[in-house]
């Protein structure tokens, strides 16, 4: 259990885990299509995407349960394509925990340690250490079926961490927990990861989880990475319409490009002209149709007579505690409706259902996409 020899400064090791040109097919289906990815040592990278997008395949490839058709996988600068799982030094937290039912907590957590031929006292010491880390000291003799869901997950985590793995893989670890438990477990996990500094790959389809836990997010869909970036980058500057639509709520409005202005673009929508981000427009010619992707919190409701972006009729209200979501029917939106988020307490009475409202844009960070934009490969 010594610290691994310092090959390079931990902070500078940007490709502790690396996939290069990795593809995997299952019969006719391409699960992963020439994917490349670099993960820095000690970072939490989340693989986010809808089911079937390739995240589970990538996890299985990293673990070594399946082999890639093309490309290389490197862990700590060593190619591991042909290395079986039991020699890869990885820790996995499975979705249903996979705690060995015929062993108690101590035997489960100590399983990997026994295989590494440590002395009895070394194993005992490590066991105590790691159980303390997950706040389960004293549970050594319990069997998995005597534990609650949250406790089982902590034991599974302890088991994976006990062997001081190079990489920690988490497969939708919170999906089986109740909402309240989920939040506290997420915080605990992040604390543990920070204190240990273990490189972590986290797989989930829950975008709010991804946003709150990750150092960086890789959005995967149909076997390709759509975008890799920090949570803020992904949320504020989505690379394409898929990422924009998948991470967080988004409204899509159709407008016309008037002119480009450096970082910004002037887009006309009905009678008004708006300033939005031109980051994804490239060298589009004026006059072209563009789609505006606007977050609900970037809009506000206004009186219908004010000079606003568009007009509409309130179809529904949803009280969310911290804010109110308004569903407004409007022709400017491609789907016919926009979602507007208002924080004021009196908004529900001020704009009742059926009332005519105006919708205004409050931020310059809305993004415009050309109508025929193709996704990033």
């Amino acid at each position: 259990m010594d610290d691994p020899p310092a090959r390079s400064e931990p902070a500078a090791d940007r490709s502790f885990l690396r996939l290069e040109g990795v593809s995997k097919r299952f019969g006719d289906v391409t699960a992963l299509n020439a994917v490349s990815l670099d993960v820095a040592r000690g970072e939490i990278l989340t693989l986010l995407g809808p089911s079937g997008g390739g995240k589970t395949t990538m996890l299985n490839l990293l673990a070594g349960f399946i082999e890639p058709d093309t490309g290389t996988i490197e862990i700590d600068h060593r190619i591991v394509n042909n290395v079986p799982p039991y020699r890869r030094d990885i820790g996995i937290l499975f979705q249903n925990y996979a705690l060995f039912p015929h062993m108690n907590v101590a035997a489960n957590v100590g399983y990997g340690l026994k295989l590494r031929r440590l002395s009895r006292s070394q194993i005992r010491r490590r066991l105590d250490e790691v159980l303390a880390l997950v706040h389960l000291t004293g549970y050594e003799q319990r069997k998995p079926r005597q534990l609650s869901g949250g406790q089982q997950q902590r034991v599974a985590l302890a088991r994976a961490l006990a062997i001081a793995p190079k990489v920690l893989l988490l497969d939708e670890p919170f999906s089986a927990l109740d909402k309240g438990l989920r939040a506290s477990m997420q915080t605990e996990l992040k604390d543990i990861q920070r204190s240990l500094g273990v490189t972590t790959i986290f797989v989930t389809h829950d975008q709010s989880e991804a946003l709150s836990l990750s150092d960086r997010i890789a959005v995967l869909s149909e076997g390709s990475i759509r975008q890799i970036g920090t949570p803020a980058e992904i949320y504020v500057h989505p690379a394409d319409r898929f990422v924009a639509g998948f991470v967080g709520n988004v409204n899509v409005l159709r407008g016309r490009l008037e002119r480009l202005d450096g970082q910004n673009a002037r887009v006309s929508l009905g009678a008004t002209t708006l300033t939005v981000s031109a980051m994804r427009l490239g060298a589009l010619a004026p006059g072209a149709t563009v789609e505006l992707f606007v977050r609900p919190e970037q809009l506000r409701l206004a009186e219908a007579i004010e000079s606003t972006m568009c007009q509409g009729v309130v179809a529904a209200q949803a009280y969310q505690g911290t804010h109110i979501d308004f569903h407004v029917k409007t022709d400017a939106a491609i789907s016919g409706r926009v979602l507007v988020r208002q924080a004021q307490v009196d908004a529900m009475s001020r704009w009742p259902i059926g009332s005519c409202v105006g919708i205004a844009l409050t931020s310059k960070d809305a993004i415009a996409f050309p109508v025929e934009s193709r996704p990033l490969t």
Binding site: A63, G64, F65, P84, P85, Y86, R87, R88, I90, G91, I92, F94, N96, A98, F100, P101, H102, Y111, G112, L115, R116, K143, R145, R159, A160, I163
Partner: protein, 283 residues
């Protein structure tokens, strides 16, 4: 006030069947306590003579033989059946799976007589094995396999193998593969994973298989009768002989009762020994 539609209609027939079985066993038990009247099918008065006679070394030997053969057969069947069950469950190709399943299951449906008869053709002095070995020149005289314990056990293993494989395969199929993946990720190679994870988790299936194999073999008749040919006598053969050769039904009944008690005894022991395994169970 719980409505239970069909309750009486559905329970009564089953209850009647249960009653029927109980009556048959009671009749058996009753007969075992009656005296044998030679030359007549009617039993005499009540007596414990039959059970006393069981103590005779001749009969005790048959009991021991039956238990021994059943035990050996069960264990051999387990050792032979486990790899097949494993292959059946883990193979990925549909065609292979179906093929193995058909090969394993067909003997189950052939019936004792056909199976045993086929073994006679294989084991006989003019049979397959001897013919091949002599042709190849490995032996000069035929090896005696018929009328030996070896022949009987070989045929019994063949008879019991299908059910053992099915029970083991059912248990193996229920083991979540994630357990094995977890073990591998922690550093266990394929052999270690099998020994520490797969095998223990399949223990309930092993116990069920051994229990069934023992019980089935204990009740085997055609195989020891035809292949044992009088040299190898299991309990069933003795009961038949006494019943239909000597018409000593009371004694045959007492043998059956004793056999039943023995079976239940062995199975109860197996049950107790496997109590700690109950905790595992299928997930």
């Amino acid at each position: 006030m719980k409505a239970r539609p069909f309750f009486w209609a559905f329970v009564t027939p089953a209850a009647l069947c249960g009653f029927g079985l109980a009556v048959a066993l009671a009749a058996l038990f009753q007969f075992s306590l009656r005296a044998y009247v030679p030359g007549s099918l009617e039993p005499g008065g009540f007596t414990l003579e039959n059970f006393a006679a069981l103590m005779k070394p001749l009969y005790a030997r048959v009991f021991a033989e039956t238990v021994w053969i059943s035990g050996v057969t069960a264990i051999c069947t387990l050792l032979v059946g486990y790899p097949v069950a494993f292959a059946l469950v883990r193979t990925k190709r549909r065609v292979l799976k179906s093929a193995i399943l058909i090969i394993v299951v067909t003997p189950l449906f052939l019936g004792e007589v056909v199976r045993t008869y086929s073994w006679i053709v294989v084991l006989g002095n003019n049979g397959f094995i001897n013919a091949v070995l002599m042709k190849v020149g490995l032996i000069a005289q035929p090896i005696q396999m018929m009328f030996t314990r070896f022949g009987v056990i070989a045929a019994l293993v063949h008879v019991t193998l299908p059910i053992m494989v099915i029970m083991l395969a059912a248990a193996l199929a229920h083991i979540d593969r994630d357990f094995e993946r977890a073990a591998e990720s922690l550093g266990a190679g394929p052999v270690r994973t099998f020994l520490t994870i797969t095998l223990p988790l399949s223990a309930p299936g092993i116990v069920a298989g051994l229990t069934t194999a023992f019980a089935w073999t204990f009740s085997a008749f055609a195989t020891p009768q035809l292949i044992g040919g009088g040299q190898v006598n299991m309990l069933s053969n003795l009961v038949y002989q006494l019943g239909f050769a000597s018409f000593n039904f009371p004694f045959a009944a007492s043998l059956s009762v004793a056999g039943l008690a023995l079976t239940f005894g062995v199975l109860a022991i197996l049950r107790v020994l496997s109590r700690p395994l109950e905790a595992i169970g299928p997930h």
